[in-house]
Symmetry: D2
Subunit: 309 residues, 4 copies
Amino acid sequence: MTKLTEAATGVYVIAPTPFHDDGALDTASIDRMVDFYLSAGADGLTIMGMMGEAEKLATPEAEAVIASVMKAVAGRVPVIVGVSAPGFAAMQALARSAMDAGAAGVMVAPPSTLRLDARIRDYFLSAAAVLGPDTPFVLQDFPLATGVQIASEVILDVVAQAPTCVMLKHEDWPGLGKISALRKASDAGARRISILCGNGGMFLPEEIARGADGAMTGFAFPEMLVGVCRHMAAGDAGRARDLFDAYLPMARYESQPGLGLAIRKYVLAERGIIGGAALRKPGARLSPADIAEIELLLARQHQRLAALT
Amino acid sequence: MTKLTEAATGVYVIAPTPFHDDGALDTASIDRMVDFYLSAGADGLTIMGMMGEAEKLATPEAEAVIASVMKAVAGRVPVIVGVSAPGFAAMQALARSAMDAGAAGVMVAPPSTLRLDARIRDYFLSAAAVLGPDTPFVLQDFPLATGVQIASEVILDVVAQAPTCVMLKHEDWPGLGKISALRKASDAGARRISILCGNGGMFLPEEIARGADGAMTGFAFPEMLVGVCRHMAAGDAGRARDLFDAYLPMARYESQPGLGLAIRKYVLAERGIIGGAALRKPGARLSPADIAEIELLLARQHQRLAALT
Amino acid sequence: MTKLTEAATGVYVIAPTPFHDDGALDTASIDRMVDFYLSAGADGLTIMGMMGEAEKLATPEAEAVIASVMKAVAGRVPVIVGVSAPGFAAMQALARSAMDAGAAGVMVAPPSTLRLDARIRDYFLSAAAVLGPDTPFVLQDFPLATGVQIASEVILDVVAQAPTCVMLKHEDWPGLGKISALRKASDAGARRISILCGNGGMFLPEEIARGADGAMTGFAFPEMLVGVCRHMAAGDAGRARDLFDAYLPMARYESQPGLGLAIRKYVLAERGIIGGAALRKPGARLSPADIAEIELLLARQHQRLAALT
Amino acid sequence: MTKLTEAATGVYVIAPTPFHDDGALDTASIDRMVDFYLSAGADGLTIMGMMGEAEKLATPEAEAVIASVMKAVAGRVPVIVGVSAPGFAAMQALARSAMDAGAAGVMVAPPSTLRLDARIRDYFLSAAAVLGPDTPFVLQDFPLATGVQIASEVILDVVAQAPTCVMLKHEDWPGLGKISALRKASDAGARRISILCGNGGMFLPEEIARGADGAMTGFAFPEMLVGVCRHMAAGDAGRARDLFDAYLPMARYESQPGLGLAIRKYVLAERGIIGGAALRKPGARLSPADIAEIELLLARQHQRLAALT
């Protein structure tokens, strides 16, 4: 399998983990889901992230999901596996298992109690050492979820000292200025790593205009993410924004903290991409009012997309 | 002056505090700003909130802003004054001063260290006692900013025991289900208070559909908030959403934590509503890239609004 | 193996996990350590807690530690195993493995993001369901470490609805009033569960006087914890406090957050109870100044204990 | 009045604010309290700190307390006034008022939302600019209360760039290594500022041995703080620790977060130093069980002190 490098671009979809209504893993849906994402134009997949309900899986379940995804992907695109863990021994075990299964790289978020620039830097440098020279990793910067703010200087220090840090999953908020600052630093000689952005795609046109290489997030319509990236790459910012705007009411609705994943899975299930919308407990459940709102947004989105072409 | 009641509806604009570039208060802008908000259809104003940079004002400055706003409003609409304070003595002093100046009511957010249902309930009941029977108050529920999550049951207890709690400024996230729960409770006999929603208006159509009475927030285009509320009240949800969608790319851009107020003030200044875009220190400053993005969004919004009519 | 019940009393020592200097598990030290704790009068052991560096162990390592401790204990006292996990599937797997290995019960702390009385209650009731009717569990209440404050009413609800909740590891701060409140509730008819207290033993005389059944903590001199409990049980509070006071300067020194475990392990190693003082990374390391202070405190403690008899 | 300088040493007592049972200010107690502290050997006083319930005072009340303390002190020792505020305008107003009233300097804690080394540095440098060249200030480093961790490097940067930063109120936990690091830096050429330590005096002997210049805290027996500082200064560490150990059971009891100030005021009232033990609402109230424990500790402390001499 090709390893992840600084040259990665495009859309790495954060894939959910499908469950049956009783909470059992729905591995049968994985093939269909992977095929859908790849046919929608995904350049890569990221699994075992926060939106993959990774923390709700027992170790053998996580291994089963990784194996199923790898089999379904069959080397067509790189797969990144989240290996954030409360300790380095568990992180190392997860990473070894993922790389052995064929992952292109792993993703690491900081523990929520981490503070002080020097300690955050040390954490990622220690993680790099623990992962070893053959495991490229993505530094995940998502303060809203982790509680840890990471200074641009700290990211640049990690990039300078850890050659295996090849990508930033960028999800700081506000973060457009951070992309500009990091790109200015690489223009001035710092190693240029890949920057893929999260935030459910809610700032994707601006992020790419600032120098990001694409998106790593999980909106229920990955074709929007792909389209925006491609139109922007083709220099057609207007068309990118027209497409973006058409999906924005739904992207906004899906951005609700606490409820977002339930909305995403509902839409994916309705589109036939996964077998059912269930989250494993503890997880939000949609009310009839939520569902009515989604259906209304889908109908309006459908109309607006039709008007675009 | 008429006091705030449970019957309040519509749009209460969260007004910013205008500053000169050197950080001095720009009271001259206040008249113009107030006239603009009222001509845009605001049903009320809220000042000294988080987005009013209240915490950056010395007491005499705060009093000057309150007096200027009251004079400019001249009784045309109710004015709510934020009186959140680390202690009850300061809260009481602020509230007295505000009510004496002609405020219709005050707004109270919980201190960030507050935890446990019972203590949160006690806090608001103590605040009600400190404010006294003649000062209607708004319970501000904004966990993303305060760090304090408030259960629906706690709000209902406060409503049951404190007759002066007449309004909820709703900004929980996700919060649509909370509106439904509170309305279900008032249908079942709980006193029905006014619910005005924040979140920069990003969920306004859904919030009103769930039973909210309007918006209390500060988007740079209050005419969107007013239009959505009026179309929804008139039963024309489609037109409300068309209008909402046209402004959504900008509302989303303005929703960036840390940068949002700078964006709002920039647009208000560009529209000629306030004299300048300056925030008092410490406050974000827009970069040329930020400004270029805003201008692009404004141009697209202009086009789209033109297409609507 | 006998299961843990509400009748548990005395001292359940929180055992550290011994490591070699290079970070490898030092299972050879486990026999010696267990024998020491039992000869010091421990009524039980708790492993895989926060002070056991459990989060730094890979799963097979954790299983090896559990197996070694069980073998060394050989049924002489009950062993409680920490099974806190970010998700219920992992918690269930850990608990099954622990109970199969001979644990008397398990211990559960809430995830740090949990808020609202109702959600905290639901969390522990769900945990009880996941653990099943044959796995007694300890509710760990340690806000300083978890960030989650738990109301007495919530604990009483869990006790009322989950018969397998047989013990509270009490470490709220201030918490003496909470012990009194819980004991008042059991006097009034609530099921009386065991309350063992943490806080490094720093409030043990008062905790027992308020109705706690003993200590579950990990001071480097468990003989102090045992002595205080026994003297209190024998009605000799004066002697209990004399003993307590003699150890207090060291207990205070060991209570330093961030450094405490390194101090405890240093003393245990110096006493010959574990092979070395190393913490696995990331973990604090003592400076020469730290060590000099410890040695001074040990010398003074030795003198003072000699004067007691 | 002499201004505060880097040469400050000894004990700066954090003075509580006396209230009547109905919550009214008890200014009559202030004279007596000040005289007591000075006769106990205090080298300075600090008012309007966290333990002074400053946040519960309205502005005119705060001014009344400051005036009363200044009048009572009558220039005999320096007085430091806490001026932490959510914004710089309020901080400036408070500082001017305090300096005009005769304060020797002011104390500044960071706002709880501050993160990132660079922003914390900027905050204190901005505060220094706002306070002006004639107002010496104390940098308050108390992460347990403020939630803000401050790196030693940041403190040294502030010291290097802001000549008016003349003192550190040190209350990081663990913090002994931080004192050593700061002293090592001043030995290597950094400007040496005064370091006075908090933590209720619980680590005073070690703090002084590490290079601290004394204590700034508020234990109900300031004579312990004074005695420990004097014996340490005289080179008699043994005697310092004997004294410290005698008071430690009570100091520990007073260290309970949430309840500590109520305990301190109870003891001060019982000693006749303030008129009553009341805290202003919201504030903890002691139960009969709390009071019985205090009385027992006082009796034992009395005996032990008698045995010392």
